[in-house]
């Protein structure tokens, strides 16, 4: 008898420090603030938290957090490198019975702070300290292909070729997202809707990737509190039940640069993850009322629609063209907060929006949003979750 985690855990509290281009405080400060907000939202005392999980590069270590929050002991703590896959650990912490209340906190001041990730590689090279893993960039950087927009552009061009699509079609995604952002009071980067023409004439970063295809850097601090569905019943908010949470990878994968694969115009990690996600939740794509998809790079959005099974292979961009199917009221409303166009590049922001849809508090609320899906990690090891109303 193999168990699974279907419906056994729930998100009971969310804490969001308003996204901004300069928090003006340290990450330790805003991380503490976000967790305090989440605890207040849940109706929990900070001392009741006994598990902390995070993204590896985002935010201070759990033991730092304890110092400010006054948490006496942690029974479970872990970190993950990709997307929002720490959600799996938050669920595991409580579903395994190891801890009572797990907090997934993501804090990153990417707008005001020093650059992370690829710059580590450059620092390391300058110090002649070779990190084994990053040496793979030596296959690209001597030729001027040095940053993710370039890597994604390679995939996007193949996508255009393989399925006869173009920015004319996927450009509807930023259009619809901008409409959502314009109705989101807390939107930082987009206050007015854009048209498809605005998108097409906007600045090109690496053809065919435009400025509007790339999520802007942002300072953010988000905390999510997870506990068992049983305990959730006794807390302040109506819980957002986690029907399932999953992650996936696939052969010959690298972050955005899986160029050795037979078809680079698809997201097999996302497809593998989706198989697991829907299987554990016991639902099908048609049950999903809203999808909050990884929009760090817009061409990945139609690719995700295909990988997740919302449409046939190669038809993702056509699904988005015109915008009607992905608007609120359409077949599958996407990124109802405005996504990265509103909030910038921040994985857990999508989980927060999914929770709001479940609670009925989204700035662009979908009617009867009883099953909502969110993803992260497009272009590499992918993860996702399906929330449902209690």
């Amino acid at each position: 008898m193999i168990e699974n985690i279907r419906d056994k855990t729930a998100i009971v509290g969310i804490g969001v420090v308003d996204f901004s281009t300069n928090m003006g405080r340290t990450e330790w400060y805003t991380a503490s603030q976000s967790i305090k907000l989440a605890a207040e939202d849940a109706g929990l005392k900070l001392e009741e938290i006994d598990a902390l999980v995070k993204n590896k590069d985002d935010g201070p270590d759990p033991s730092y957090m304890q110092k400010g929050l006054g948490i006496d002991n942690l029974l479970y703590h872990s970190e993950t490198k990709y997307g929002a896959s720490a959600m799996l650990d938050a669920v595991l912490a409580v579903a395994s019975g190891a801890a009572n209340y797990a907090v997934y906190y993501q804090t990153a001041h990417r707008a005001s702070g020093p650059p992370k990730s690829l710059s580590e590689y450059r620092v390391a090279r300058e110090l002649k300290d070779d990190m084994l893993d990053l040496v793979r960039y030596d296959f690209y950087s001597p030729f001027g292909l040095i940053d993710p927009p370039g890597f994604v552009a390679m995939n996007a061009r193949r996508y255009m070729y393989a399925y006869r699509t173009s920015p004319q079609e996927w450009g509807w995604v930023p259009v619809v997202l901008s409409e959502n952002a314009a109705r989101n009071r807390k939107s930082v980067f987009c206050k007015k809707p854009v048209t498809l023409n605005d998108y097409l004439i906007s600045k090109m970063v690496v053809d065919p990737i435009r400025q509007m295809d790339c999520a802007p850097k942002v300072d953010g601090a988000v905390a999510i509190i997870v506990t068992t569905a049983e305990r959730a019943k006794k807390l302040k908010q109506k819980p957002a039940i986690i029907s399932s949470v999953a992650m996936g990878a696939a052969p010959e994968g690298q972050m955005h640069t899986s160029y050795g694969r037979k078809n680079i115009a698809e997201l097999p990690e996302m497809a593998n993850m989706a198989k697991e996600l829907f299987r554990v939740a016991g639902v099908k794509p048609k049950h999903i009322k809203a999808a909050i998809l990884d929009d760090a790079f817009i061409p990945y959005v139609p690719m995700q629609l295909e990988a997740l099974g919302f449409c046939k292979k190669g038809e993702g961009a056509a699904f988005c063209a015109g915008g009607d199917r992905i608007r609120v009221g359409g077949d599958l409303p996407l990124n109802t907060s405005g996504g990265a166009m509103a909030e910038g590049k921040f994985d857990t922001a999508r989980i927060i929006e999914a929770v709001r849809q479940i609670r009925g508090t989204s700035p662009n609320q979908v009617k009867n949003a009883d099953f909502v899906l969110a993803t992260s990690g497009a272009g590499g090891p992918a993860d996702g979750l399906i929330l449902r109303r209690s």
């Binding site: 168990e3 270590d61 110092k67 993950t80 490198k81 395994s96």
Partner: protein, 409 residues
């Protein structure tokens, strides 16, 4: 709050109930693998990791492609997709990391177990691969450099400017305080490295195989950083270790006798840092070990008297010895007397420890070699077997966010 802490109130009623613990008795380690341990591997970490993982899969009797979960520390020199590609994995359904260096030595086991008992993954491989012996010789940075003292690690600013840059130095401060408060003597401490070196003489895999030491050798050995002498320090190693965790049901169908995980726990008490745990009310003890031990005993429903053999994380002798007190094998401040002469910690004694030579004499794979030695004890295949070993306790690093597991037949 800090004074309550002094009393170490361990609030049982605040903990999750034992009967809700899904990990207890439901996961097992069923395949172990390692490379040669050496001081100069001449291979990179990815290469060694693949060898150890393949060996673990073979030992378990599964194919490498059956592995669908990866668990490791946060400090690898390569990331998960690279490893998955080399191993030819079709999918990775669960992957995460644990921080704290050696403290996570059993935390990784715990997470792997949690993943398999909840159905998130079928076979999770847990591995560690490093070149700590040869890497340092090539000046790979020894773990400290100005760029590492940054926005995420401001607490180093209170130590590194004073030439206080290495874990052994940081640990020396609380080690010295412990010796001072309880009158632990140098002679008493020496028995730990001596017994472990004896154990290593039975283990051809150990780096110090063929190089025994006497207590006199220990007393005459040079000081490295006061209060730690040469033989008090673990042996930097090149090598890799991997093991595979799955559900007890699956494990029972496979080749080897499974080492069932009876209980697993992590701990990170307040004012936790990496060894610089100086602002706790008392620094002459290892609160993280104590918390973790209490949790293990509570979940497993056993006490120290039930443990047949212990594999205790000893990056330096004092760190290992102090754990005897914190885990209840002797009273507070009594561990010096307890190990005098060595008989209590030898095979046949009250609590045989680190039977393969431990981190001081076998190898320093950040505690992973202790885990697989624990598995061997359960299987009955150790080079230094405790007769009828039924229950084995393995611990993660002291002075850092810690972890532990209890294995049983």
């Amino acid at each position: 709050m800090l004074t309550e802490y002094m009393a170490r109130k361990y609030q049982k009623d605040k903990k999750p109930p034992v009967d809700a613990n899904r990990i207890k008795d439901r996961a097992a380690i069923m395949g172990i693998g390692q490379t040669k341990y050496s001081r100069f591997s001449d291979r990179d970490e990815l290469d060694m990791a693949c060898e150890a993982i393949k060996a673990a899969a073979d030992d378990a009797g599964i194919r490498v492609e059956d592995i669908d979960g990866i668990e490791a520390f946060t400090i690898d020199r390569f990331a998960m997709p690279m490893l998955a590609n080399c191993l030819g994995l079709r999918n990775v359904r669960y992957s995460s990391e644990v921080t704290g260096g050696g403290g996570a030595a059993c935390g990784v086991t715990m997470h792997a177990a949690a993943a398999v008992v909840t159905g998130m993954a079928d076979y999770v491989v847990v591995f560690r691969s490093l070149n700590e012996a040869s890497g340092q010789r090539y000046g790979r940075g020894d773990g400290y450099a100005q760029y590492m003292l940054n926005a995420v690690t401001p607490h180093y600013g209170y130590h590194w400017p004073f030439g206080f840059v290495t874990p052994l130095g940081w640990a020396g401060v609380w080690g010295k305080r412990w010796m001072y408060e309880f009158g632990i003597t140098r002679e008493q401490i020496g028995w730990w490295p001596v017994v472990l070196r004896e154990n290593a003489q039975k283990n051809p895999n150990a780096i110090y195989y063929g190089r025994p030491i006497t207590h006199k050798d220990y007393m005459e050995s040079p000081m490295i950083v006061d209060p730690l002498k040469l033989h008090d320090c673990c042996v930097d190693t090149d090598g890799a270790v991997a093991y595979i965790v799955t559900t007890v049901e699956r494990a029972k169908e496979l080749k080897q006798r499974p080492a069932i995980i009876m209980a697993a726990a992590q701990s990170a008490p307040i004012e936790q840092e990496i060894q610089t745990i100086y602002n706790r009310p008392s620094i002459s003890g290892l609160v993280e070990t104590w918390y973790m031990g209490q949790e293990l005993y509570r979940i497993a429903g056993v006490g120290p008297e039930d443990i047949d053999v212990g594999e205790f994380y000893d990056p330096y002798s004092i760190g290992g010895i102090l754990q005897l007190e914190e885990l209840g094998f002797c009273g507070r401040g009594q561990s010096g007397k307890f190990i005098e002469g060595g008989d209590n910690i030898r095979v046949g004694g009250k609590i045989p420890v680190n039977t393969s030579g431990g981190l001081l004499s076998e190898a320093y794979i950040h505690g992973y070699n202790l885990v697989i030695e624990g598995v061997r004890q359960i299987r009955g295949t150790s080079t230094n077997q405790v007769p009828n070993a039924e229950i084995c306790m393995v611990t993660g690093g002291p002075g850092v966010p810690s972890s532990g597991i209890i294995l049983r037949r």
